[in-house]
Structures are given as structure tokens and as C-alpha cells.
């Protein structure tokens, strides 16, 4: 992200939003005074405040408050080259583009100084035209970049509003057949309750697994879902619980019933398992 931070942020030399001038310690800075010692680093900062030779040229033109179309090529070239020379004198590593531009300006200047062939004038393009075209084009996007920066930016000017997603439920009727530990855990609780009911236990006899299988099946036959705990008659005590539980496991194994739950922490239901195609 270092390239995002403007070098001007960390320096007394500030490239003001208005790109046509720079400020040094608050003073408008439009040329390099001979009597002022400027540390090389500071000049590098000035240079970095320009986005390239076109930007520097625009700055020089705008500084003099002249129309791009009226570029006084000779004067601008002189200023431009004096900037470049100073940078070089200070050993600032100039991007090659700056030197290319200096060469181009020198060429334009020399062509403009040549006497014009009076008749062939219409054929030959003004040597400034291409440069003006590029300057104009660059200036458009320079402005567009400023406009873009004015738009409300998410995270800078705009904060989006969010809420935590809802707590998720199980999909209704998603069977957890096969999750035996779930049932085993549930059993613990059932057994605990059965123990609390011990005093009510009467002599239990004739609790057969077969009978219990049939009982459970008949309870769910109608297609009704039966709350898991309801299948355990409290009065039967521990043995009844065990028999019922074994019957449930057996029916699960035979795929005669399934265990479902509509929502977390809601009751567990036992219901008849429909055959394929019946659903």
C-alpha cells in the first residue's frame, strides 16, 4: 500500500489538491529560487508530486494562466528544461519520460523557429498540435481522477449497514437417522428421569421387545410424529426405558421409523418412515 501514500504526506512540501502549484512550508512555490537551498529529498518530493512530464508541463502552463492552445513553446521549454536540469544536478533519478519530453519540446521549438514555407502551410501540421492533443487528453483524465476522488467512497464517506444473519435452523424434516450418539445422549436424560420416577415403579413383568416394536409402530402408523420422550412410559421405570429404546433402535435399523427434529432445541420426533416413492 505504500504507493498509495502520497509522499507529500510526510514532508513539509505539500502538493496541494490544486495541482498547479506546490507549497514549501506554506509558501507558494512556483520556481526554484537561486538563493534557497532545497534539500535533494525535497525536490524529489516535488517531482513525485507530478504524475509525469505531461503533468509538469500542464503545471507550467497553468501557472502562467494561459490557454493550452497558446503555449509559448519557447518559454515553457526553457522552464521545463531548467526544472529537469536542476533535478539532474541534484542527482534525482529522473524517469526517462521527462527527458523524452525535454527532447520533444526542443524539437518543437526548433521547428517553430524555422521560417515557414509560405505556400505549403496547409499541408504541414503545426508542430505543437500533437503535444496539445496529448496535454488536453491528459488533462481530461487528470480532471476525471479528481472527480472520481470526489465521489462518495465506501469505507471513506459511506458506511454500509449490516445485521448478523439469523441463527440457522435445521432444514425441517431433515432426518438424522444414523446419528446414534444423539440418541444415546438423549437416552441418558431419559434414564435420569426414569430414576426420578423410581418410587412409582411397580413390578414390571412381561415387557417384551416384540410387543414394544408393535406398540411403537402402531403409534406412528397414522403418519403422526410422536415426541420421542412420549414413547417412554414413565411408570415402567428403567427396564421399560431400556426395552423401548431397544425397540426404537431396532425399528431404525429396519428402516421402519425415522427420527426428525424441526429446529434446534425443539423436540425430537419419531415417525413412520415412508418407503421410496411414497413420500
Amino acid at each position: 500500500m505504500s504507493e498509495l501514500a502520497s509522499p507529500a504526506d510526510t514532508s513539509p512540501i505539500v502538493a496541494v489538491n490544486d495541482p498547479f502549484y506546490a507549497r514549501v512550508y506554506g509558501e507558494s512555490y512556483t520556481k526554484l529560487p537561486d538563493d534557497l537551498y532545497i534539500p535533494p529529498d525535497a525536490l524529489a518530493v516535488i517531482l513525485e508530486a507530478f504524475e509525469g512530464p505531461l503533468d509538469l508541463l500542464l503545471y507550467l502552463i497553468r501557472k502562467q494562466n494561459i490557454d493550452i492552445l497558446d503555449i509559448p513553446v519557447a518559454e515553457i521549454t526553457r522552464q521545463y528544461i531548467s526544472y529537469i536540469e536542476l533535478m539532474q544536478a541534484l542527482n534525482i533519478d529522473l524517469a526517462a519520460e521527462y527527458l523524452l519530453m525535454a527532447a520533444l519540446l526542443a524539437e518543437i521549438k526548433s521547428r517553430l523557429l524555422l521560417p515557414k514555407p509560405s505556400q505549403a502551410e496547409d499541408d504541414e501540421e503545426d508542430p505543437r498540435a500533437e503535444l496539445i492533443r496529448r496535454l488536453q487528453e491528459y488533462e481530461r483524465f487528470k480532471k476525471a481522477a479528481e472527480d472520481l476522488n470526489e465521489l462518495p467512497q465506501e469505507g471513506r464517506d459511506i458506511y454500509s449497514a449490516h445485521a448478523e444473519p439469523p441463527i440457522r435452523y435445521l432444514l425441517p424434516t431433515e432426518p438424522f437417522v444414523g446419528d446414534f450418539s444423539l440418541l444415546l445422549d438423549a437416552m441418558h436424560d431419559v434414564l435420569k428421569r426414569a430414576e426420578l420416577q423410581q418410587s412409582h415403579v411397580i413390578a414390571s413383568e412381561g415387557l417384551s421387545l416384540e410387543q414394544r416394536l408393535k406398540d411403537i409402530l402402531s403409534q406412528v402408523k397414522s403418519g403422526e410424529s410422536i415426541v420421542f420422550h412420549r414413547l417412554f412410559p414413565a411408570h415402567e421405570g428403567r427396564l421399560g426405558v431400556v426395552v423401548t429404546f431397544m425397540a426404537i433402535l431396532e425399528l431404525l435399523k429396519q428402516k421402519m421409523i425415522e427420527i426428525v427434529q424441526d429446529a434446534v432445541f425443539s423436540a425430537i420426533y419419531v415417525r413412520q418412515r415412508l418407503l421410496e416413492g411414497e413420500a
Binding site: Y159, S160, A161, H162, A163, E164, P165, P166, I167, R168, Y169, L170, L171, P172, D179, S181, L182, L184, D185, A186, H188, D189, Q261, V264, F265, I268
Partner: protein
């Protein structure tokens, strides 16, 4: 307090919506310069008002361990969950069991967790729980080896929308650990998870 109460209320409502994690009363207070700063009781009263304002809406302003956040009411889950078609992988069962034991039995040592689960608790599971900031070492059991005592954190409470450990379903009522796991697994889906084991 020079700001109008109505403005303060709007600011705190906007702030809770804008921030990605819950905001406490203290977090809210620092949004205001000192001379404009509402007191905690003023903030609390405004929060109550906002909670009222959202009474008819599909979201609610809830308080959890680390502060206040807006949350979409659970009854809309069947539709809204479809936004996340590619469900992040579930937390592994082993991880959830371990977490459930720590939550209900804290502080516990790893050996104690292993005794309850009946299997060795893998280092990855413990590490994954630490990585998520769901558990922390809160001390050491004064036995040979001085094993670390593990407990759950505020982040754990936040992740599972609990205000405090007291809000965990009481173990007596909980039919089983499995259900807790189901619950935990479902809630944790909203946080991207990598499956351990």
C-alpha cells in the same frame, strides 16, 4: 450534552449497523467528543428505544457478551440461509464435542476432556479452537504436570449469540450433548470454518 438526543440516538443506531463486530456502551461513548458525550445510562435508554423501534422489523438489536449488534430474527432463517448456497464446511463433530465439554465443564484440562469423550483430543482440535479465539487458558490444575485449564471466551459467546455462559441451555434440560453440537454447528456455519479431522 449539547447534541440533541435524537441525533445521538441516530448516531449510535448507525454505528451499530456500520461496525462489523458488536459495540459496547464504552465503544459507543467514544464516538462523541467529551462535551457531547452521553452517559452510559443515557446510552442504555436510547438503546432500549431503538430496540422498541425495531419491534415490527425483521431484525432485532440484541446484547451479547461484547456489546450490541443487530441480528436478523431467527424465523426468517429458512429463506435467508439460501443466500449462502455453498455452505462453509461444518465444524467437525470432534471439535464441537470438545467445545461443548469445555463450555459446560470449564475450567477443564485436556485430560478431563479426553476422559469424558473417551478418546484422545487431537492437538489440531485444540489449536483450531484457540485459532478461533473460542477458548483460552485460564490457569493450571495443581496436579503433577500442572496441566492447562481451558475455558471459553467472549468470542465464543459472540459466535454462538450468547450473552453469558448462563445462557447456555442448562445441562439438566439439555437432552444431550449431541443437540448442543447440532446447535453449535448450525450457528458456526455463519463463520467460515475449516474442518478439522
Amino acid at each position: 450534552m449539547t447534541l440533541q438526543t435524537a441525533l445521538i440516538k441516530q448516531i449510535i443506531e448507525g454505528a451499530i449497523f456500520a461496525h462489523s463486530t458488536p459495540l459496547s456502551l464504552d465503544d459507543l461513548a467514544v464516538l462523541f467528543v467529551e462535551e457531547e458525550r452521553p452517559t452510559r445510562s443515557q446510552l442504555s435508554a436510547l438503546i432500549k428505544e431503538i430496540q422498541q423501534d425495531y419491534h415490527q422489523r425483521p431484525l432485532e438489536l440484541v446484547e451479547i457478551a461484547s456489546g450490541y449488534r443487530f441480528q436478523v430474527r431467527a424465523q426468517f432463517s429458512p429463506w435467508i440461509s439460501k443466500l449462502w448456497q455453498d455452505k462453509p464446511p461444518r465444524l467437525s463433530r470432534a471439535m464441537l464435542e470438545t467445545l461443548a465439554i469445555i463450555a459446560y465443564r470449564q475450567p477443564v484440562t485436556r485430560a478431563e476432556i479426553e476422559a469424558i469423550r473417551g478418546v484422545v483430543v487431537s492437538t489440531q482440535i485444540i489449536k483450531a479452537l484457540f485459532d478461533r479465539d473460542w477458548i483460552a487458558v485460564v490457569g493450571h490444575r495443581d496436579v503433577p504436570g500442572r496441566p492447562a485449564l481451558l475455558a471459553t471466551t467472549r468470542e465464543f459467546l459472540d459466535a454462538f449469540s450468547l450473552k453469558s455462559l448462563a445462557d447456555l441451555p442448562p445441562l439438566a434440560q439439555v437432552r444431550d450433548l449431541g443437540l448442543i453440537e447440532q446447535e453449535l454447528a448450525l450457528r458456526a456455519q455463519s463463520t467460515p470454518a475449516q474442518v478439522q479431522e
